[in-house]
């Protein structure tokens, strides 16, 4: 039977990481399932956890006045949900909702922060990996803002 450490080790976020560090991080985790429609995080709640998605799909969304919530990003296996546990004031900035049945490793943010404070090498290794995810998300958001499908696509008229 696979342990939490096995799932953490196999997740893309920890690909190639020192096994001892992975083991250490896995000590802050537990397996958790979410049903379709269930929330992993709610905006402004205390950001006590983040999630390694093992299976299923999760949508990040934000609420609007008198309108349905706006979906911002869909995440799936090998993605992570939540980094507000890392940054004061440690409150989730968005809702995240299970679009399907979702299997995750739930990692306790406070526990990991404590371990990172006591082992700066671990903290730096983890921060590099999380920064890479954040940069990918920023690049993606910029692409979405560019509205690249709106103009100048194949089939368009040649310029004069």
């Amino acid at each position: 039977m696979k342990t939490v450490a096995d799932y953490v080790r196999e997740h893309a976020l920890f690909d190639g990481m020192d096994p001892a560090q992975v083991e250490f991080i896995a000590g802050c985790g537990r397996l958790r399932r979410f049903h379709e429609g269930e929330y992993l995080t709610r905006e402004n709640d205390a950001a006590d956890h983040f999630y390694l998605v093992l299976e299923g799909r999760v949508v990040i969304e934000t609420h609007r006045i008198n309108q349905p919530p706006a979906p911002l990003l869909t995440l799936c296996a090998n993605d992570i949900v939540g980094w507000s546990w890392l940054i004061p004031p440690y409150r989730y900035q968005f809702d995240s909702r299970a679009l399907t049945a979702v299997r995750t490793v739930e990692l306790n943010g406070q526990c990991i922060r404590g371990k990172c404070e006591s082992d700066n090498c671990l903290g730096y290794a983890l921060l590099k990996r999380l920064t890479s995810v954040m940069v990918d998300r920023i690049h993606g958001a910029r692409m979405q803002l560019l509205d690249v499908y709106g103009a100048a696509t194949p089939g368009a008229d040649p310029l004069p």
């Binding site: 893309a12 799909r57 949508v59 969304e61 349905p68 919530p69 706006a70 979906p71 911002l72 990003l73 869909t74 799936c76 296996a77 090998n78 993605d79 679009l99 990918d136 690049h139 993606g140 692409m143 979405q144 560019l146 509205d147 690249v148 499908y149 709106g150 103009a151 100048a152 696509t153 194949p154 089939g155 368009a156 008229d157 040649p158 310029l159």
Partner: protein
């Protein structure tokens, strides 16, 4: 230069707002010249100019061509207004298409953005017709909104032969596909990198990001093919209007292997 042949519009289907598919046949009847997936015709709306438009139907179609085009300028607006029975001029087929011989026996990643799905549809239909000829196939298709995605009805039949991942920039809460960029699902997709070929068509900025993701996933540059677009005029490589580095997009492309064009792909203003 070869004069245009006169074709008649058989039918016109509005795919999404401002985007139509025309089925056209020779006005005199008879057969049409066979084409390869990824090639294009020059379509001439009388009095409004000529534009390159990729084939978007299956190569198995007999006696007519299908072209999907978006009305974004004078020429394409005139073509998009054509109704059954109207006539237009056609030159082609032109260009080098998708490397169908390279795809057989391998896993195929099809990455399309917006109207870029149209030039890939003949390739997809070829895979759907003979799925056993390929190791596997996945389609990653990105668009602005769900209601601006092409060929959704046809995709139901494609899903038997290939895995389809749809991604949009913006959606309402009832959308069951992905929200984000098309490279998101691609980054976590499972495929045998050493035996995979990727074919990419869409806005150039999307193709740049797709190439980067494919490289990160272990594909070598010789296994990535892109359909490029530059302004074309003669479609024969004579006028030089579509020259891109040492290549003419109309004659040497529009489909290029990334390893052959990498030096020019990232040159600005080229």
């Amino acid at each position: 230069m070869n004069p245009p042949a006169i074709f008649t519009v058989l039918d016109r289907r509005e795919e999404i707002p401002h985007t139509v598919t025309l089925r056209i046949q020779p006005a005199q009847g008879g057969t049409v010249t066979p084409f390869a997936p990824g090639q294009f015709n020059m379509l001439y709306g009388f009095g409004s100019g000529e534009v390159p438009i990729s084939f978007s139907g299956a190569t198995a179609e007999q006696g007519y061509y299908s072209h999907t085009l978006r009305a974004v300028g004078k020429s394409t607006e005139a073509l998009a207004r054509l109704q059954p029975g109207d006539q237009l001029g056609v030159r082609g087929p032109f260009g080098r298409g998708w490397p169908m011989d390279q795809l057989a026996g391998r896993h195929v990643l099809i990455i399309a953005g917006g109207l870029g799905l149209a030039p890939l549809q003949p390739l997809i239909e070829a895979i759907v017709a003979k799925p056993a000829d390929y190791l596997g196939a996945q389609l990653f298709y990105g668009g602005r909104r769900p209601e601006e995605l092409l060929y959704l009805a046809r995709m139901a039949a494609w899903r038997d032969a290939l895995n389809v991942e749809l991604t949009v920039d913006m959606a309402s809460r009832d959308w069951s596909g992905h929200v984000g960029v098309v490279t998101g699902p691609l980054a976590s997709a499972k495929f045998p990198a050493s035996n995979t070929v990727a074919v990419v068509c869409g806005p150039e900025i999307m193709m740049r990001f797709a190439v980067r993701t494919l490289q990160q996933r272990g594909l070598d540059d010789a296994s990535i093919y892109l359909s490029m677009e530059r302004n074309m005029h003669c479609a024969l490589g004579h006028c030089g209007r579509c020259q891109w580095g040492p290549n003419f997009v109309c004659k040497d492309g529009p489909v290029f292997r990334y390893s052959d064009i990498a030096p020019w792909f990232h040159v600005r203003e080229l």
